[in-house]
């Protein structure tokens, strides 16, 4: 077995000391070593986006990045979205608008949308669709996902104002 390296990851504001092989993907490190199984793996080749997390604020495919590359960066996963019992506006909007069925793609879509909306809360419908087209969902036909993100964007904008 290749040698393991000791690293410290900053995930959702908590630090995790883990010993991992250099070839281990960030997704596997999060899931298996940090115990954060909310980040899902749908393809492990960068297409489906189920593994999307935020690294220093930007959406990243956690299956395409090595865990060791994430050291020293601020990682955010779906587990860190809600504030205790209070859901994030995006989570709430997904719930209210039936933006999920099986829920497997949901963490990836949530993190993708959070990253995009935090960067630009005033995205147009077309820009939103462009962003959301980078992830796959097999259950919903997307319309309720797009709707939920649009409504959450409105709310996030209103909150900022």
């Amino acid at each position: 077995m290749p040698d393991k390296i000791a690293i410290t990851l900053d995930v959702n504001g908590k630090s995790y000391d883990v010993n991992v092989e250099p070839r281990r993907s960030l997704a596997d490190v999060l899931r298996e070593d940090c115990g954060l199984t909310g980040t899902h793996l749908g393809c492990e080749h960068g297409v489906c986006g189920a593994c999307t997390v935020l690294v220093d604020g930007r959406p990243v495919r956690a299956c395409l990045m090595f865990g060791v590359q994430a050291e020293g960066k601020a990682i955010r996963t779906v587990e860190g979205l809600a504030d205790g019992d209070v859901l994030h506006p995006l989570q709430k909007a997904f719930w209210e608008n039936h933006g999920l069925q099986c829920g497997f793609c949901t963490p990836g879509f949530l993190m993708l949308a959070v990253g995009a909306l935090e960067e630009n809360p005033a995205m147009s419908e077309a820009e939103l669709r462009d962003v959301l087209s980078s992830n796959l969902c097999r259950c919903t036909g997307y319309q309720n996902i797009v709707k939920a993100v649009r409504l959450a964007a409105d709310e996030m904008r209103a909150r900022r104002a």
Binding site: M1, V78, Q91, Q101, R129, R138, T140, Q143, N144, V146
Partner: protein, 757 residues
């Protein structure tokens, strides 16, 4: 209170939104080993040997098994549609004499780490004497395993059905219309890949498999049989399931292998496939070629339909047996009268991944074929295809309509339907004449825009029966225990709403248990759009039973006659004005050491038949052959909608899958039988760019007389006629009736058609 008909948000969403779901890959047990499957790299060949020498020496590898290690296991048996002659073509858990598709499991590696298991699997060498693969299901049948099973040919069965005097129909024909069409090979492809964790509790001698789905009770029995254990000593447990669509949760070789390994290796064993494996190993579907001949009169009325079709079953016959072919043969006539019908459905084996059911199995294919035929009849007779449909639709006064044949072992009887009425309403709702006019205007302005329509009849509510137990605790918590499975479709919420309709309790206080074989004696699972119909009816019956028991007790408590009690908002009230809540009655039961509970069982001999219409408007790019779906409408009569929000979600999701199958998705093979669509880069599923917002036109005009709720299943009708409607719209856009005869209409294929190559 969220009773029937309320668009309530779902009970199941909380953990899924917070990343707290428990999907198969999220299950772990201390000391677990990781299993990795070594798969055949070639499509067809004699398996001469497997060399695992180098793999076994890798640190961390605990065991490597080949066919010899599992020789005592029987092949995986059929769950459904056990047609005579299929048995020799069942798949063994590891290939023994021959490999028959790229992906056929030949060995399994067990290691302490998933990465190591994968490394070791790469080191296993398969010595295979390659043979020429059979890839064309229309080719003459050829040997299945030439040396070891001499005489066994690749056509295990032909399903024949029919009724009426077909020869007389053709003798009387004004014209005979013929057509050959093909639906490509695609499948459910859920976002979660398959996975399982098997744990043997030696102290109690209970083997538990986590990661079950769809049919946990059946699979528990099947695994117990294969491993020679009592079924009481096998449990299947379903956590969250990342999409089912017919393919997930069937019994596959890998499920049996993890269970066997947990027993033999005396430690938990986990297996999670990667996406490539999923595309190579999980059930494929569709892939039918239909040759249809219709005898029609001058109005386009179909006097007789003579059909022959071929199902490309792939390498083996899996758990579905002949289901897809049987359903296709039984339901091809769809919504039309067709007084005489004859069909031969050929099950053909090829050297591709084995096939099974996928959402609307046999209906997506036959709806495409039949609706293409009706369009062709219109074109050949110079009639409006909508009028041809009107002439052929089963009239309302013929309901219930006996088709005169069987499918899935039940008579096909259309239980209720107002087909002409739905057609009129839908055309008006959509503004169909305007749609056509505007499309024509845009065509004159140079665009290639067209409108198409497809009619479909679905089926739902497959029996034989379902059992439900409901109990109400004194603190107000209600539990509904079912034998059903959840595959992400919102089962918990829908069943809670049905219960709330009778008991007037908030659905948030209800817990719906599903997919746990240790909690209820039997359960048929989640397939064939049966859950709302079968389990929902059982919930309704159990709720009514619980209410009756509570009413009797409340009557005693309130000193009134049971019949005299009113029940509103969860509270019984006597004529004298005294009242007691349902919860208080439950507390009263508890105080005397009893539980307020009831069981409900619902049985059905016949399926019911929801129906609908798909209408598509598309724009074709003549340069690239690309097709943009601009508008899509699904009109669907499901008798009664338990939760319209969820029904619309089912329809939109199914429709997106239908668009995938119509335009993009296809398991393509090269001449050597190598799969060319083995990743999401090559197997193209629609994103939100390719799928429009689907408009649903939900109707409740023809409730089913076959169940107490009047419901028909809603899970499949969003997909059924997508291929048919889009094909018709493309024809219209290009002004070339009958142009599209094959799905998917990929840009390359359409471009070739447009440029006449």
């Amino acid at each position: 209170m969220s009773g029937i008909g309320v668009p309530a948000r779902r009970l199941e969403d909380g953990p899924l939104l917070r990343g707290e779901g428990r999907f198969a890959a999220d299950c772990n047990a201390p000391g677990q080993l990781h299993m990795r499957v070594v798969r055949s790299p070639v499509a067809f060949g004699r398996l001469l040997g497997v060399d695992a020498g180098e793999a076994s020496t890798l640190p961390g590898v605990v065991a490597v098994w080949t066919a010899a290690d599992v020789a005592d296991l029987p092949p995986i048996d059929f769950r459904m549609t056990r047609i005579e002659g299929l048995a020799p073509f069942r798949q063994r858990v590891l290939a023994a004499d021959y490999v028959r598709y790229v992906g056929d499991p030949v060995a399994v590696v067990f290691a302490t780490d998933a990465y190591v298991a994968e490394d070791a699997a790469d080191l296993v060498f398969c010595d295979i004497d390659e043979l020429d693969p059979v890839l064309d299901p229309l080719a003459d049948p050829s040997p299945f395993m030439p040396e070891t099973q001499p005489g066994l040919l690749s056509e295990p069965a032909v399903v024949r059905k029919g009724y009426g005097d077909i020869d007389a129909a053709f003798a009387a024909a004004h014209r005979v219309v013929e057509l050959t069409v093909r639906v490509g090979r695609h499948s459910g492809v859920p976002m979660e890949t398959r996975g399982a964790l098997a744990v043997h509790d030696a102290a109690r001698d209970i083997l538990t498999m986590h990661g079950a789905a769809k049919v946990p009770h059946y699979n528990r029995d099947a695994i117990a049989r294969m491993l020679g254990r009592d079924r009481e000593r096998v449990q299947l447990s379903e956590g969250h399931v990342g999409g089912g669509f017919g393919i997930r949760g069937e019994l596959y070789p890998e499920d049996v292998l993890v269970c066997l390994a947990a027993l033999r290796l005396r430690t938990p064993v986990k297996w999670v496939e990667d996406r490539r494996e999923h595309l190579l190993a999980a059930n494929h579907s569709r892939d039918q070629t239909h040759r249809l001949r219709a005898a029609v009169d001058a109005r386009g009325f179909i006097l007789g339909l003579d059909a022959e079709f071929f199902t490309d079953q792939g390498a083996y016959v899996r758990t579905h047996g002949g289901t897809v072919t049987d359903l296709a043969a039984g339901l091809l006539p769809g919504p039309y009268v067709i007084p005489a019908y004859r069909v031969a459905g050929h099950v053909r084996l090829t050297n591709k991944t084995p096939a099974g059911t996928y959402r609307a199995p046999g209906r997506y294919e036959t709806t495409f074929a039949r609706e293409r035929l009706v369009d062709r009849i219109g074109a050949e007779l110079g009639l409006d295809p909508i009028e041809v449909r009107r002439v052929n639709l089963i009239p309302e006064d013929a309901m219930p309509f006996h088709r005169g044949l069987d499918t899935l072992g039940t008579h096909v009887v259309h239980d209720s339907g107002r087909y002409h009425d739905l057609l009129d309403r839908t055309l008006a709702h959509v503004g169909f004449d305007d749609e056509r006019k505007r499309a024509a205007e845009r065509r004159s302005a140079g665009e290639a825009v067209g409108v198409g329509l497809g009619w479909f009849v679905e089926k739902s509510g497959l029996g034989p029966k379902d059992l439900v137990r409901i109990s109400l605790a004194g603190d107000g918590r209600l539990e509904i225990v079912t034998g059903v499975a959840s595959i992400g479709q919102g089962v918990e919420t829908a069943l809670a709403q049905i219960c709330a309709e009778t008991l007037h309790l908030p659905i948030e206080t209800m817990r719906v248990v599903h997919g746990q074989t240790d909690r209820i004696a039997y359960g048929m699972g989640a397939f064939a759009s049966r859950v709302t119909v079968m389990t929902g009816s059982a919930v309704q019956i159990a709720s009514a039973g619980l209410l009756a028991t509570a009413r009797a007790a409340a009557a005693t408590m309130l000193q009134a006659a049971p019949d005299a009690l009113g029940f509103d908002g969860g509270v019984f009230a006597s004529p004298a004005g005294a009242s007691v809540s349902l919860q208080a009655v439950a507390a009263h039961f508890e105080a005397s050491g009893k539980v307020l509970a009831a069981e409900g069982e619902f049985a059905a001999d016949h399926m019911n038949y929801p129906y609908g219409i798909h209408i598509a408007r598309v724009r074709v790019d003549r340069e690239t052959g690309g097709v943009a779906v601009e508008r899509f409408i699904v009109a669907y009569d499901i008798g009664r909608a338990v939760n319209p929000l969820l029904v619309e979600g089912q329809i939109a999701g199914a429709c997106a899958q239908g668009i995938g199958g119509a335009l993009f998705e296809e398991f393509v093979y090269d001449e050597g039988g190598q799969p060319l669509a083995a990743s999401f880069v090559d197997y193209l599923m629609p994103t939100c760019h390719e799928v429009p917002d689907v408009e649903t036109f939900l109707r409740e005009d023809a409730p089913s007389p076959l169940n107490p709720l009047g419901v028909k299943g809603a899970g499949e009708g969003g997909i059924t006629a997508v291929g048919a409607a889009i094909a018709a719209a493309i024809d219209d856009a290009l002004g070339r009736p009958g142009l599209v005869s094959r799905l998917p209409v990929s840009p390359a294929r359409l471009h070739a058609l447009i440029s006449g190559r």
